[in-house]
């Protein structure tokens, strides 16, 4: 039952998952962070309040969060093809993964930044800080530990979503579980794949928690 071929498939699938989730998380953070920052600073009572901008941006983010991942994957096939040259495979899967994660990460970032004590922001204003200085020297550092946890949650979400990447030939552990474990009735493969996924998620969460705790000086 546990012949070498299974282990090879497993290893490949694991690497594919890590690749998809890793790259998607990085892009989601890079693109979602500014969105989250904008959501916070334009909110009422913050440093650059702007009701219309804030409301519209909020709507866009909400729309992004509403589209089910599997539909998103299929809906943006043309865009994916334009961006990476193909609409199938692991690299192609990164596109919908990233796009679905951006609004999510933006919201969690917004949450983290909102928790920064308003008094500290007021002190920075009293010291003559510019908006940029407040964002870079106050908001981000004060929320850093919280942001690391936000990235961790996003990564774990993406591990789950990556399973559906199999629908566009994306590979990965989820794909393995579906194709062999489910469609070919190989319960043992399904079981092993799930176990590996559990370990992966536990690992990511634990590392995330550890880093967040180390970064927090509270």
């Amino acid at each position: 039952m546990f012949n070498p071929m299974i282990w090879t498939m497993l290893k490949t699938a694991l690497l594919e998952t890590l690749y998809m989730v890793g790259v998607s998380t990085v892009f989601a953070v890079v693109l979602g962070l500014p969105l989250g920052i904008l959501l916070v600073i334009t909110s009422e009572g913050h440093i650059k309040p702007n009701k219309w901008f804030n409301t519209i941006l909020g709507w866009i983010v909400n729309v992004g969060r509403s589209v089910p991942f599997i539909i998103l994957m299929v809906a943006i096939i043309n865009f994916t093809r334009w961006l990476v040259g193909t609409s199938i495979g692991t690299t192609a899967a990164i596109v919908p993964l990233t796009i679905s994660a951006i609004p999510f990460f933006a919201r969690v970032t917004e949450q983290s930044l909102r928790e920064v004590d308003k008094g500290i922001i007021e002190a920075a204003q009293a010291m003559g800080a510019t908006t940029m200085q407040i964002i870079i020297k106050v908001l981000l550092p004060e929320a850093f530990s919280s942001l690391v946890l936000a990235m961790t949650i996003t990564a774990v979400n993406l591990i789950g979503y990556s399973a559906m990447a199999g629908a566009i030939g994306g590979g990965g552990l989820g794909d393995l579980a579906i194709r062999y474990g489910y469609q070919r009735f190989r319960g043992d493969i399904m079981l092993i794949t799930v176990i590996v996924l559990v370990i992966l998620v536990q690992g990511v969460q634990t590392i995330g928690n550890f880093i967040a705790r180390r970064l927090s000086h509270k």
Binding site: D117, G119, I120, E122, A123, A124, Q125, A126, M127, G128, A129, T130, Q133, K137, V138, P141, E142, F144, H217, K218
Partner: protein, 328 residues
């Protein structure tokens, strides 16, 4: 010689619009001189926090004029406002330190904002740490400090750019009495040694009594009483001021004592209140020697407001009728 008003408010009004319109400040006129320690006292919601925030425009008045160091604050562009803010230091009730930075980096924060080079920053920070007595805590994080220590960091930070004005928003309200004392001592020292003008917002008359030169009482957005501290403390004209003073300076005989005193027969009861240089002693001696009456001190309360003594004594005078009449 022209007196320079460092901070001046003219007809300042601020209204918060919302479900209910709240008038935070109403026609406030205020002048604070260079080098003064000026206290503003009032109950919660009286408008004192709003008032102090109108000095560096963390709150913007709807009407009136605010000038600091001759600059009309309301006429400034955003950039100029930021520059002026760098000249005004502020400390807060809850300290507002950056938890992600060490003590020395917190103090260096305003210097970073002003793009001061690293070497100069280090020197400045070391000097400030010494001023507030926290040199050994340079590398500590705020979470490791006590309230008093955090406020000291706040003070050091507020003076990092050689500010000449320091705003204190309920700076000691979250500290125990002893720590409050030490922070007030530090503020007094800074004022004496560096001539820094200090504006203190508080709801504790004790704080005013300890270090302020002048005080203004604010109620419902209006300044109802203001003047030199000794005078306001000794002769409060408004009920609000009197209420604040109740626990602080006793210039009235408590009712229970007064009742008891009335019962003692013979002689005459007089009450003297005195302020400043005149202490009670010579007066009593004078009474004894000049008028040949016996003086008995039945009740007294003597207090000190900074360097000035004042208080009140209830005396019973006994002696021959004519002599007592002569005294009156």
């Amino acid at each position: 010689m022209e007196v320079v008003f460092l901070i001046q408010f003219e007809n300042v009004t601020k209204v918060y619009k919302g479900e209910n319109e709240v008038v935070a400040l109403s026609d406030v006129d205020l002048t604070i001189k260079d080098g003064e320690i000026f206290g503003i006292i009032g109950l919660s919601g009286a408008g004192k926090s709003t008032l102090v925030r109108c000095i560096n425009l963390l709150e913007t008045p709807d009407k009136g004029r605010v000038s600091v160091n001759g600059v009309d604050m309301l006429s400034l562009t955003s950039r100029r406002l930021r520059e002026e803010r760098k000249k005004i230091g502020m400390i807060f009730q809850h300290f507002n330190l950056l938890s992600s930075r060490t003590v020395e980096d917190n103090i260096a924060f305003p210097l970073e904002l002003s793009k001061v080079p690293k070497k100069v920053r280090k020197e400045k920070v070391a000097e400030l740490l010494e001023l507030v007595g926290l040199t050994d805590k340079a590398r500590a994080y705020p979470s490791q400090l006590s309230g008093g220590q955090k406020q000291r960091v706040g003070i050091a930070r507020a003076l990092a750019n050689d500010q000449e004005i320091l705003l204190c928003d309920e700076a000691t309200s979250a500290l125990d009495p002893q720590t409050t004392r030490s922070i007030l001592d530090l503020l007094k020292k800074i004022n004496k040694e560096r001539g820094i003008t200090i504006v203190i917002i508080t709801h504790e008359m004790n704080v005013i009594k300890e270090i302020c030169d002048k005080v203004a009482v604010i109620e419902d957005g209006r300044i109802i009483e203001s003047g030199v501290v000794e005078e306001v403390l000794l002769n409060p004209t408004t009920d609000t001021a009197k209420t604040f003073l109740k626990g602080v300076i006793k210039t009235e005989v408590p009712p229970e004592v007064a009742a008891r005193l009335k019962l003692s027969n013979g002689g005459e009861l007089i009450q003297i209140t005195f302020l400043g240089g005149e202490t009670g002693e010579p007066i009593i001696n004078e009474m004894v020697s000049k008028f040949d009456v016996l003086v008995n001190i039945l009740y007294g309360n003597i207090d000190q407001v900074q360097d000035i003594t004042f208080g009140m004594l209830v005396l019973k005078l006994t002696g021959p009728e004519q002599k007592l009449a002569k005294l009156s």
